[in-house]
Symmetry: C2
Amino acid sequence: MSPWTSAVGAPQLARLLGSQHTRDATAASPADGPAASPVAVLNGNRRVPAYRALADGVRLLLLEGRVPVAARLPAERELAAALTVSRTTVAAAYEALRGEGFLESRRGAGSWTAMPAGSPLPTRGLDPLPPEAAASVIDLGCAALPAPEPWLTRATRGALEELPPYAHTHGDYPAGLPALRQALADRYTARGVPTMPEQIMVTTGAMGAVAATCRLMTRPGERVAVDSPSYANVLQLMREAGARLVPVAMADHLAGWDIPAWRQVLAAAAPRMAYVVADFHNPTGALATEEQRRSLVDAARAAGTVLIADETMAELRLDDDVELPRPVSAFDPAGSTVVTVGSASKTFWAGLRIGWVRAAPDVIRSLVAARAYADLGTPVIEQLAVAWLLNTGGWEEAIEIRRALARDNRDALVAAVRRHLPDWEFTVPHGGLTLWARTGGLSGSRIAEAGARLGVRVPSGPRFGVDGAFEGYVRLPFTVAGAVADKAAERLAAAADLVATGATAEAEAPRTWVA
Amino acid sequence: MSPWTSAVGAPQLARLLGSQHTRDATAASPADGPAASPVAVLNGNRRVPAYRALADGVRLLLLEGRVPVAARLPAERELAAALTVSRTTVAAAYEALRGEGFLESRRGAGSWTAMPAGSPLPTRGLDPLPPEAAASVIDLGCAALPAPEPWLTRATRGALEELPPYAHTHGDYPAGLPALRQALADRYTARGVPTMPEQIMVTTGAMGAVAATCRLMTRPGERVAVDSPSYANVLQLMREAGARLVPVAMADHLAGWDIPAWRQVLAAAAPRMAYVVADFHNPTGALATEEQRRSLVDAARAAGTVLIADETMAELRLDDDVELPRPVSAFDPAGSTVVTVGSASKTFWAGLRIGWVRAAPDVIRSLVAARAYADLGTPVIEQLAVAWLLNTGGWEEAIEIRRALARDNRDALVAAVRRHLPDWEFTVPHGGLTLWARTGGLSGSRIAEAGARLGVRVPSGPRFGVDGAFEGYVRLPFTVAGAVADKAAERLAAAADLVATGATAEAEAPRTWVA
């Protein structure tokens, strides 16, 4: 057991449970305002025993990171009193949690939250749309934009001019082309983080960067602390690599890092690695302050945790009046703690598949050596194109096009959701490509299912959480403009109506799509 | 224990051990002709106990696949008689092998070969050359050629013309661009294997294809049967994925598949997967006959083993008079057993990083869905370039350029090695990009070390084997022309002289490189 403990008091746990209520057609009534008994509301008329509803509630708080791992839970008697349920109910709930690995108890000492040792069940993503559906379905599954032309064409032409000397080589550049490593290093230096090309490895997208770092740094069964919610594909990549994900809850506002919670988790769980998106977080859009960055890095260093800072969204500031903090790596001058991951996919175009890692030279050397047994290298022409963009100023101009488009799309989406779904709650982010919307107490998964039948695809909240958290959310990307955003929100509202009236369970999704 | 057994008789095992003798400066004498006692020769004056030398010999035979896994070894008394050593020596050797997991015994029933459950020690590859060394070192580490210009430039221009409609999308094509899937499917159909685009996924190189298939098909600890020797990077990829590699020895001639041995291993070890390079095998250059292909596929089907057929080298026939057999997949019309992996890297250019998988549509769907948690997709421009090549006939013309270059390089290399290293043995392959050379009884690893100091980099045999096999080999690629091939062979001969005279151990590799 950890030498360190935190405790969650009975009133605090009752309050947290009370904030979880989910309204849907099978619940007793719409739960407006705090419920008299959270357990009763959770229970509703779903014919779930009260102890099971309580256990599920605690489990969800743990999976969302709202109750940290290794925190002491209240004594059964105290929690029973706070929830006005019987002690037997609490005892049975604790027993169920123990059986599932979410609770560890020692007689006379109390009970502590835990994460099960086994891999959590993977949350699979959205399958690619069948081509015949693509025309009639508004696909909000992927937070990526079209290429900021004419810059893709110009950059490819630029690459073509640089190509001849490279064509005379075998084309195998495991660390990336020297020209691109230099250009990316210069960009970090310009952002206030002095960087040498030896600190850069070019990868196949940010996912390639995260995958390589995971393979190098962690072994199956080791802990990885993650924002909760976090980027769905990275969570799944880490699950498949055998990581034990330890969620740390984001706060409900845009400077959303709960630093005391991070300190607790890093100190208590001593994870091998932590993964954060400090710049326009995916999916919430939150932007970490300089103080939060410094605190995160300091806590990671103290815990011996490698902090992966994913900067994929970092250049997508949409509101000019927002001041950008320095990069996370600026708070790690020794280069011992932070590994930065970047990508051209959101900033420029996902069709390039260009990402990179910035780390200490010895880490980069190890990553490069390991690459012989993974993807070997990144395509040359795309690297030349990105180097051309960075060296000619085209990168900045392309980003301005991107920002303007994402800003317009964001504003259209926000207006459309407010119009058609007035009880959905969200905070409008100042950057990034996603809106994290609380679905008015309805199940995000059911809305996603109903939406698929009504011609709109959205990823539901649980994809962005650890093992089932965030049922009451969906993620909406800034990828469609005015009329389409309105149509998408209209279809989502229809889907939400189906869910609210209980009409969703009656039929399986048909094989055809409604236009 | 398997219901099936094979047995290795004492005279057979003695003969196999006798064929292993390695000559180097620390051995008693050059071993020309069969030795009186293999154990004595193995032992030499290296001050290794006789039992240890015998255990090492058996271990190596197992790792090279020359003695199959789950084969019954002779009784101690019989082997002692055949080797003219004491029974105590054999008993101690068997005991050592049991301790290392290479042997399982049951009292009264005998002893069977086994592979240890733990991951074998990885054999790391060659680190990338430091840039300051690249000018003075002949790098024979990588079997890849320059781009067959003008086709790379033409194909990229072609891609640029096709780009505009794709630039208007988010660029995310997890299965690959429809145009390229169609072109690749058509090519299989033209080769006699009717194929639909739904059977193709475009990957990031052949390594991306093998990695994705491994992730989908195997779990850590499962067995994967492999040619022995085999492609070094794939072996290491599988080790890192936790596979238990089961080697199956290649025969010493160019139609090198030992089908009875494959049948034995597939039936006895029932591996989850098998990986073969049937077309101009890497590193030996061997080409499987149609009958071998049919037998391999039938045996894999019977064992429930997925057979990965790596066709990376398939189009690199160098001698026109060699008849190409049908693809391995032609012998699996139901599509239930064979997964084919292909790549443009050797045939066209490694700098593109375009590979693919051909499999049943349901396997492709699973691979595509899993990709969201790996590399997400393959770059668009390179895909358009390869589709352009395939659709315009440029592919065929580029391959002709490639073949002519590889053929000239092969002939230059063969002549140079024969000139400078007359006691090295090899069979000249009719295709592919590599020569697998037996180094006249010297240690390939020591030659590689000495070569690095003398300005020539070669990968030594053990990189292509399971856990230390093939110490007496190096792999030489068809990547350099006349004068350079001669210089490389000259340096290798100097390296071999150093090893033969025992002059290699005296100094660490200096930091500077000899021109």
